[in-house]
Symmetry: C2
């Protein structure tokens, strides 16, 4: 039996990973009920901290997630779901909630940033 450690708010973070592509899709939170429903229905259920309610992922959008496997970490205070997503995971329509906001993306949004970096390198090699 699992002995999942819920935090002081009764929640445990759940990482959602695409079972095929291995892409990390979302970090969401579960309470005991959401975890039980996920195990029972093999669909991902979370607890929305903003709406303060249980949330069956994709129930309105249709972008459900079939849960293939559930793992827990070494100290059982984090959950990892392997899923087959039926559509985009993110409310923005992106495949993953972690799309399009990386340090790298920001750097490449200013193509001239490389010049400053180059100038420093040249200066250091004098």
């Amino acid at each position: 039996m699992t002995n999942v450690q819920f935090n002081e708010n009764g929640l445990v973070p759940a990482i959602v990973q695409d079972a095929q592509t291995k892409e990390v899709l979302t970090l969401a939170y579960m309470n005991q009920e959401a975890l039980d429903l996920t195990i029972e229905t093999k669909e991902s259920w979370f607890y929305s901290r903003s709406r303060k309610e249980l949330w069956n992922k994709g129930a309105t959008s249709g972008n459900k997630q079939e849960v293939i496997e559930i793992r827990y970490d070494c100290d059982q205070d984090a959950v990892l779901l392997f899923v087959n997503p039926k559509g985009p995971a993110c409310h923005t329509g992106a495949v993953s909630c972690f799309k399009g906001d990386s340090e790298n993306d920001r750097n490449t949004s200013n193509p001239f940033a490389i010049l400053e970096s180059l100038e420093k390198t040249i200066s250091n090699r004098k």
Copy 2:
């Protein structure tokens, strides 16, 4: 610029993913300083909730993590690190903290569980 949302304890959850294998290694927590140090040193830094101190992953074990990329999620309250790990991520010696404790593992620990499942299938097909 990022505008990372730290929780009421000043922490943000950080998912650590192997940049090559895409395996999820750990879920840890960062405060602002840990995030700054991670960006600056390109090594993973976390905040240990139990020890209440900054923690440079691998500083004692040698199992450091070279940080290749840092991403934030759509509402900027979760971090995703792509890393090249220099050794096991877990204090147990496992490659990932999510190894060896899955619902599936538990099921296969009882090899006869398949019989019950088979019996149900046969019964349903009568």
